[in-house]
Symmetry: D3
Amino acid sequence: MLIKDFKVGEEVTTFFLIKAKNVKTSSANKPYIDFTFQDVTGDINAKLWDVKGDIEHIYNPGELVKVMGTVTQWQSTLQLKIIKIRNVEPEDKVDYGQFIPVAPIDPETMFNEILFYINKMTHKDFKKLTLALLEESKSRLMYYPAAKSNHHAIKSGLLYHIIRMLRTGDALCDIYHNCNRDLVLAGIILHDIEKLNEMDANELGIVGEYTKEGQLLGHIIMGIKKIEKTAEALKIDPEVSLLLQHMILAHHYEPEFGSPKKPLIPEGELLHYIDMIDARMYDMNKALKDLEAEQFTDPIFVLDRRRLYRSKFAVTDEN
Amino acid sequence: MLIKDFKVGEEVTTFFLIKAKNVKTSSANKPYIDFTFQDVTGDINAKLWDVKGDIEHIYNPGELVKVMGTVTQWQSTLQLKIIKIRNVEPEDKVDYGQFIPVAPIDPETMFNEILFYINKMTHKDFKKLTLALLEESKSRLMYYPAAKSNHHAIKSGLLYHIIRMLRTGDALCDIYHNCNRDLVLAGIILHDIEKLNEMDANELGIVGEYTKEGQLLGHIIMGIKKIEKTAEALKIDPEVSLLLQHMILAHHYEPEFGSPKKPLIPEGELLHYIDMIDARMYDMNKALKDLEAEQFTDPIFVLDRRRLYRSKFAVTDEN
Amino acid sequence: MLIKDFKVGEEVTTFFLIKAKNVKTSSANKPYIDFTFQDVTGDINAKLWDVKGDIEHIYNPGELVKVMGTVTQWQSTLQLKIIKIRNVEPEDKVDYGQFIPVAPIDPETMFNEILFYINKMTHKDFKKLTLALLEESKSRLMYYPAAKSNHHAIKSGLLYHIIRMLRTGDALCDIYHNCNRDLVLAGIILHDIEKLNEMDANELGIVGEYTKEGQLLGHIIMGIKKIEKTAEALKIDPEVSLLLQHMILAHHYEPEFGSPKKPLIPEGELLHYIDMIDARMYDMNKALKDLEAEQFTDPIFVLDRRRLYRSKFAVTDEN
Amino acid sequence: MLIKDFKVGEEVTTFFLIKAKNVKTSSANKPYIDFTFQDVTGDINAKLWDVKGDIEHIYNPGELVKVMGTVTQWQSTLQLKIIKIRNVEPEDKVDYGQFIPVAPIDPETMFNEILFYINKMTHKDFKKLTLALLEESKSRLMYYPAAKSNHHAIKSGLLYHIIRMLRTGDALCDIYHNCNRDLVLAGIILHDIEKLNEMDANELGIVGEYTKEGQLLGHIIMGIKKIEKTAEALKIDPEVSLLLQHMILAHHYEPEFGSPKKPLIPEGELLHYIDMIDARMYDMNKALKDLEAEQFTDPIFVLDRRRLYRSKFAVTDEN
Amino acid sequence: MLIKDFKVGEEVTTFFLIKAKNVKTSSANKPYIDFTFQDVTGDINAKLWDVKGDIEHIYNPGELVKVMGTVTQWQSTLQLKIIKIRNVEPEDKVDYGQFIPVAPIDPETMFNEILFYINKMTHKDFKKLTLALLEESKSRLMYYPAAKSNHHAIKSGLLYHIIRMLRTGDALCDIYHNCNRDLVLAGIILHDIEKLNEMDANELGIVGEYTKEGQLLGHIIMGIKKIEKTAEALKIDPEVSLLLQHMILAHHYEPEFGSPKKPLIPEGELLHYIDMIDARMYDMNKALKDLEAEQFTDPIFVLDRRRLYRSKFAVTDEN
Amino acid sequence: MLIKDFKVGEEVTTFFLIKAKNVKTSSANKPYIDFTFQDVTGDINAKLWDVKGDIEHIYNPGELVKVMGTVTQWQSTLQLKIIKIRNVEPEDKVDYGQFIPVAPIDPETMFNEILFYINKMTHKDFKKLTLALLEESKSRLMYYPAAKSNHHAIKSGLLYHIIRMLRTGDALCDIYHNCNRDLVLAGIILHDIEKLNEMDANELGIVGEYTKEGQLLGHIIMGIKKIEKTAEALKIDPEVSLLLQHMILAHHYEPEFGSPKKPLIPEGELLHYIDMIDARMYDMNKALKDLEAEQFTDPIFVLDRRRLYRSKFAVTDEN
């Protein structure tokens, strides 16, 4: 049974991934465990009131568990009151893939699609620089999400974000001939590359914390430094390096979102809009895909508290 | 000789279209004419100091003239001091096409491209409503610009704006499957349709004034009313009509740019970004296309006073 | 006993109107009912822990009940712990009027006052159009509130809002001779008329939800369309229709409050200020009327979190 | 002949009041006088190129002159090229009243109307304090404008502003019973009283400069201090003094317009809106009164660059 | 044992100062007491469930108590469940100093340091006015905090704020010779002086409520009135009084923070920055002093939700 | 005779530095030269109408000239009409020092003062890194201004800005013990260091243009890259490098002024305020130093159009 299908009052028996665990004290002054459980459809808070065993060391984040519990409700949110819990055993035959929201395309396939676009570039320095930075990042790029809690906050979400943007960028260059395709494609591939060092994420695609450098400088500044140094080492044409640094610097567009400069080249302008479109289509699809027709969602924080509408004519990206 | 090639101190003899004319008084208290002349490459201020004939009735906007004059400069802008001027005669063999910036594609061709996209729609009500509104607007749509002075302020500019947006919208629907293609295409075709009634433009694509209704309500509100009434008359599914009205209402996105609601459906979100991309690519191409490589433009008012950069790798949309 | 007189620790026996009902689950995993009860002085949260009968189908919103309970407190807000509850019976001799905050003037009287002001108009088209729209709206106007939760969120609140504004508008036209009285009065009567279709309210004056069109377009746009179509049908002078549409469009004044245009005629400017004054006097009177002299209220959300002051010289509008 | 009727190219002979005078040097390096002339319908720039006499000491601001000149135009604004000029002589039989825009009601009459409203107050301290401050200000109040260049920038404009506000305030207190009439009336009378010390104006109602205290503190702070000291001297109930100080402090409403506090009493809220209405009706009447029907004005700076519309139904306050 | 060292699950026996007390009702409908206890290291919420004695009159704010209790946790915040409680008795030998956060320098010493700076002034009027206002305020200045809950919200915090600013102001006048030292020093001493009348604080330095005048006018306006009246009484040069009033008016710098005028003299500009530096250094030191190296704090509300970083090179002001 | 002493109508004979030169065309269609001349007290526009010689190649920016001319006035600004002009010859015995506003302290002395503060640092890595970057920049630092047109836009202005900030920073570290002095001093020395590469300035301290990298990235980003690379090369403790990069990134404080992050360490907070104080004291001193007592300046653009006041007690920094 999946979390999204839970109803108040039901008793359920199912498997979860432990996303978070906190030991707390009840009003009766007894310790209990406050969990966040996750499966591929979402997450739910759960309480284990009657703990047996070493409370600090059992049932840790990242472990899989089998749970029997009752679905309750607190302030219009569902919770789970745990009746029984144990760790998953080999004979349960469950694997992580069932518990982790993940991009709908295989990472290897997505990585190869990026290589396809790099191959489409015509100027050797764009190719060389982009390829070098991509190869260096490959191992983590295979599973990193694109964000801690916003759009594409799923395993391999950053890759998925990049390839949808590449498809869009490539199509737009067919229509708008005032943009250099190499610049657009390279800018897309590199625009968020230092998110890999701004956040710590594990191989499940779950972000723990921002890194020290991530908090003090941020991925935009870190990306600029990375390009600067790699381009110098590879003796790339300085204009190639400078333009890509500028595009990264400007891609959030507004100062209050982290870009001290607005784009001064059309390829930078395009990069910004391609990034916005991909993020918004992702968030809107996620909010609407399980809603019934002719209904409104609750206010959505990351979309300025808009209440989206699923029209009679709505379609869904099942991916 | 074209206006964009004028240099201070030269004497030039060439043809112009009169874009504007004002009778003024010199410091010596003599009347003179202050013109704006235009050719396909731009416009220039010109002064006729020594007027012969009925100053109020000769040389009116919309007329073609042959002029000999000297190129002067005032506050870093070029001007023309008129030495001789006369109206164009048949034997001059010049025609309006040489003086009016015009979209790079033939209007009939563009109109047919819109029909092609309407034909691609799958739901009959979207087809019927869009077609009815398009046919009703056709005569003026063939020459209307998209704006008085911003992007696509050229003859047939509104058509050109629409077809580039249709190409983009169609391509994005191939990538983002959470958008209904009919809605996206219909929204693009209709989003600015009441600019035809918001502004008065002549057949040269030059906007005179905003209309009374244009100033008191604006093309967004006017477009909503137009769709409402046409859809009622054609007995269109009310949801089709309502969604298109909502997309028009929301397509400027921010309240301070005229949209009291933000898009609540993904097709409305997409419409906004497609509109922005097309306007910005147009403006940026225009600003950069005659600049030398590795130079910056002057601050550009409609682009938040940014000074754009023409990189070594810049390409130009000759259209 | 009235809600506003409840004190912590008291046991009370009294009648209420059920405003809202939610079935929830207790920490002991038992279902209970979470009510909002209302009388004419306010509302209070109440819990029925020990439910007898079909929990989903008994005690629904809109029903009157007799309740015995104890007043408790949670986070500085009073609650009611229900000891006994039953539905009202005929011999209880209570009626809805005792439970619903309602405008202080009889709706028929208020409606007639509007007619009086329509009669005061001098131009037949203003009269005809206003009267037609008013008659069409009459049945719901008799009980609709002016808002879901802000000013005049009471039964017949919209009527009450309109007549106080008419009195003000009429008085101001005696002082400011640059305003056409017909326009001012017609603008006041029609400015919020489509709130009747923007929100669903029952005959108790309680708003349930915003309608689909209300959320996608809003009452301003809906009002403009309504005037357009009615005026066309009645062959009203188009300038009359256009000016009223403009006044409705502009009456929220700032883009971020829903008006894409600011008033371009003095009558529209006046309408905005008259609307503001009536809303603010209502909210301030409500906040201050039960406060003791020389005290401050808590921060009031709809008044920018101001803490109002009830001065030694304060007077109260008992209506 | 009046300034508002001047047309380019005409030769006119008429009387003016000199509003401003600057000695400048021509491009031919000769001194000339640059005047601003004024009559009751407006003002115009004028140049005297060929000066006879002691250029520094003749024709000073505040003097009346008879002028013959030619109307010229510079950058769409009319100017006057002076042919002859001389000072007015007794036999010209012109007086200042013909040259100075002035409130449409006699100052004595307006002052008495204020006394009438003071007399309407019911609490002796409001009466005593308001009367004392009014009497102290009387001599300058008779001719002071309400502003240097905005609304009511005419002789006795401050008085005129006050009495129209008093009429409005009195009418609103009949409608809104949650406002203490004494407070509203006293607040209106005193709200701008220190404009008398914030600006230096001469008896023609023309403002020269802001005073030192006006620039360093402003009339709001100065008014608070004035009330504080006068109320202490007269042993007024401190709550009366405090409430009036608060109303003055809050009457500009927004911090960026000079009010660090928003109104915390309904009388303060009302004062703000009454002030806004009076200013806006004044400015709009001024902008529209000489326009033809169904025309738009140029953008008006003090009205956020709105282009006002004079509708078919527009009326004008000839005052 | 100190509050900052409490850990979940521990049983503690220690002394506290009662900072706040509320009688509430439990879900079981029994009254209990909800306390805030305080010692010199911070404060903690505590519950006394089983109350013996007259619940309304025992254990009031400001009293010292001895408590045995268990440390629990609610929503990541520590609480105390009280097991035993009694009032402090003489033989406990505890005194208030142990419970109240207090400025690190003795108030007499700080007061004398202010006198030292007054003595450094060269113009007698600055000396006389500052001294008079200081002497009048002395009794409360000895213990007043600088704020209710922000920077320097500790006993004698206002004095501590003033003397650190005086040291900075004096040092800056050695570097920037375009500032009059008398003005800078007098401005610092007087800038917040009416906080003594804006807030009610007890001798423990704990602020209860804002006063009526504090809410209606605020300490800036109150300070201006105080200087005005004192300076008039002492026959101080009016320019001295006016400049100090201007400096107080402008010291919050931005309208939205309470200053309707920006500084027009360099001494006022300096005052603003000195005030900011002292507040920010205080808040940052407080947030970082107990953190481990290379860690980030939680988001800090008064610092725009920044998460401060304690670097490897961080030093702490133990005061 | 110095520019600041020029009066309308005077004939002057004196020396100037040519700051700018433009060839223009007169209304009579003759070429003339439009100069900006400069001496140590300011600059003035000048026209040479009757040009002898090769107009394009004579009298270029950076040359010294002797000029006889008449002081005229245009729109309240003084101009110079050139009667005679020639290049300076050796026997004129004038040198550049007389024409260039320059910092009041000798650059060598200032540079040594920086070394003094570096020497005061206690941690070797701060010393080593700061020294390396300083030495590398020394040649241009000796004459660079701190800005193109704002504060310290004088020869050696950047050095002067740095040393006044160092004095302030050092004094503040004596008062605020929660700041690491090494960090504060190093941050000050390096905060604007890449202005040397953001702008092109000649040895007179006059800025020509912003560089390509300056426009596309800006001195903040460039400074971060410079520190990163130098620190890596010198094997500096990465925390030293990271903290200094963060301080540079955050020192403009607000996103709209170029800082995507606010300071997260107290040393960064302090750096921002020290920078502000030095810039503001410079601008205010410059605006006030030649004004008479008890006068207001004209509105000053870089100070938010404030009109500063020179009080009776004003002092001036002659430097």
